[in-house]
């Protein structure tokens, strides 16, 4: 029989998008302190996909375990507990003041280094974070590790030592497959994320969270964080709010009023 698989789900804590998000004027980094923090929305789908995969592996007799991996400040513990209460088994939390201000490439390097310290067969991430909206960390981790990147998946199947996904494309989808270990990113709507049960919430309190620093990963602190970041924010300003234009009530002439407006702007 094949051995049990280690599934690692990447969970990022992000500022709640309902709140007004800000940058720190002193160093142009994201203000993670002043607003409510939540699990990156799409990462809930990644957690669910990991849990379903584990359940299927247990069902088939092979077995599996789900580890949550988060790179983020101390308060990210809240998000990790939530992920554990959904049913993940344990967590690794990379928390180090030196990481603050890291960009996507640096974050991916930290995650790749963290993965090298644990056993992993399948890494599942969300496709995109609501704060960066970059959608590149998963592919960068695959690049850093030199393993298959099965990104933008709307369907995932694992069989034998191979993972196959339906990757969303402009025109439909690509069926993409690679041998394990592999890094997968999933899109919204791939499944229905479960709500933590009361039992799950209680159980999460005693699940292990392994907190590690940059030094624990064997990384040089100067290679991460704002000072060493390959990309830098030079300046920022609040965009002027969009001025509301003209609004008319339709009295049977609404359509022609829009057409006149579009013609005036040479849009038709």
């Amino acid at each position: 029989m094949e051995r049990a698989l280690n599934i690692v789900v990447l969970v990022k804590q992000v500022p709640d998008t309902e709140a007004e998000r800000k940058l720190n004027p002193s160093d142009n980094t994201l203000d993670r302190a002043s607003v409510d923090a939540v699990i990156n929305y799409i990462d809930e789908f990644a957690i669910e996909e990991g849990l379903q995969l584990k359940e299927a592996l247990i069902e088939s007799g092979q077995g599996g375990e789900v580890t949550i991996l988060t790179v983020g400040p101390e308060r990210a513990t809240e998000s990790i507990r939530k992920a554990l209460s959904m049913g993940a088994d344990k967590a690794v939390h990379i928390s180090d003041e030196a990481i603050r201000g890291s960009d996507a490439v640096q974050t991916a390097k930290v995650i790749a280094a963290a993965l090298k310290t644990i056993e992993y067969d399948i890494v599942i991430a969300g496709s995109e974070a609501t704060d960066s909206r970059a959608a590149i960390v998963p592919t960068l981790i695959a690049e850093a590790l030199g393993v298959a990147g099965l990104t933008q998946a709307r369907k995932v199947t694992v069989e034998g030592g191979t993972a196959t996904v339906e990757r969303v494309t402009d025109t439909g989808y690509d069926k993409v497959s690679g041998s394990l270990p592999a890094v997968i990113s999933v899109v919204e709507k791939i499944n229905e994320p479960r709500y933590p049960s009361f039992k799950g919430i209680m159980a999460a309190k005693s699940k292990p969270i392994d907190v590690k620093s940059v030094a624990d990963l064997g990384l040089d602190a100067a290679s991460v964080g704002l000072a060493g970041a390959p990309t830098q924010v030079v300046s920022f300003e609040n965009a002027p709010p969009r001025a509301a234009g003209q609004t008319v009530k339709d009295e049977g002439d609404g359509a022609s009023a829009i057409a006149d407006f579009l013609a005036g702007k040479k849009l038709i």
Partner: protein, 318 residues
């Protein structure tokens, strides 16, 4: 003058408009050079089109591996061109796939990547973050800047270029072949333009009431040659697929014209469309937040206004 590499996007032998936008943007930074990374036999048909938009050179990196494996081979091919050309910058369009290609390229060449730029210059880019609430100036501090640029950020302007062909030899590494494309499946999408880079987008919201009424949105879109989008409410109801969702957890669009029909304008929807150049809204509720950002709004019933508008536009187009 240093070269600025532009990764070419094409479909069926036609260069996409977004590539012409980037060739236009590249002219202000250096000498535009197009890079075709594709299956063998793709570049020949594209070359004359690239010449019309000022490509001084056309690097041709063709291999069956490009279509045989996902993402990674494209980044390896581009890295080979960067090594050959020592460019001032590399520009790619901001599609989901190209952002991945750009990121892997930056990783390989030890530089940084800036995504979703609305403007680029010699050392960096302008980005709009948090759904357009904040404008940031960013730069790449080490190495050749790799920038993904949003569609419609630049108006494509023709300019004659020599389009001198330069062959690129590269081999894809084993790691680059880790993700095999077993099959590419095209799903029926009709002849409408793709949402992400369309210059006009018409989106429908919960106000349409039922799946079959979505035809009203499609008709209006077709009268304008527009792409069709939707709010999440419509996607959640199962009326249209998730690929059509505009917003924070869907596609971000920045077209010349965005028409929101029966959409309230929730913050998560706005995050995906509020940098559109011109916004028009049709909604029966005068208090709907979408009117706060619409350049022109009509308070009225979409079931009468939208079909009448489609008819009016078709009529005026003659």
């Amino acid at each position: 003058m240093a070269e600025v590499l532009v990764l070419v996007e094409s479909a069926n032998g036609t260069v996409k408009k977004a590539t012409f936008e980037l060739l236009t943007a590249a002219r202000a930074i250096g000498e535009p050079a197009a890079v075709v990374v594709a299956a063998p036999g793709t570049a020949a048909a594209l070359k004359p089109q690239l010449a019309e938009y000022g490509a001084a050179k056309v690097y041709v990196a063709e291999s069956d591996d490009i279509t045989g494996y996902s993402v990674a081979p494209k980044a390896e091919a581009l890295a080979a061109v960067v090594a050959q050309a020592s460019p001032a910058a590399v520009l790619v369009t901001s599609t989901a796939e190209n952002k991945e290609v750009a990121a892997r390229l930056a990783f390989k060449i030890g530089s940084g990547v800036l995504t979703d730029a609305v403007a680029v210059d010699g050392d960096g880019a302008t980005q709009q973050i948090f759904g357009g609430a904040i404008t940031v100036q960013s730069k790449v501090a080490t190495g050749v800047p790799v920038v993904t640029v949003r569609a419609n950020a630049y108006a494509p302007q023709p300019s004659a270029g020599a389009a001198e062909e330069v062959a690129v030899s590269f081999t894809v590494s084993d790691a680059g072949k880790a993700a095999t494309i077993v099959e590419s499946v095209a799903e029926e999408k009709g002849s409408r333009p793709a949402l992400a880079d369309a210059s006009v987008v018409v989106s429908g919201g919960r106000g349409i009431g039922a799946a079959e009424n979505f035809a009203i949105i499609e008709k209006l879109a077709d009268s304008l040659g527009a792409a069709v989008g939707a709010s999440r409410a419509v996607v959640d109801a199962g009326w249209v697929p998730h690929t059509m969702q505009v917003g924070q957890t869907g596609v971000t669009v920045s077209p010349q014209l965005y028409i929101a029909v029966g959409i309230s304008g929730a913050i998560q929807h706005r995050a995906g469309m509020q940098t559109s150049k011109t916004i028009v809204a049709i909604n029966k509720d005068p208090e709907a937040p979408i009117f706060e950002l619409a350049d022109f709004g009509v308070v009225g019933d979409l079931f009468t206004v939208a079909p009448a508008l489609a008819e009016e536009i078709t009529k005026r187009k003659g």
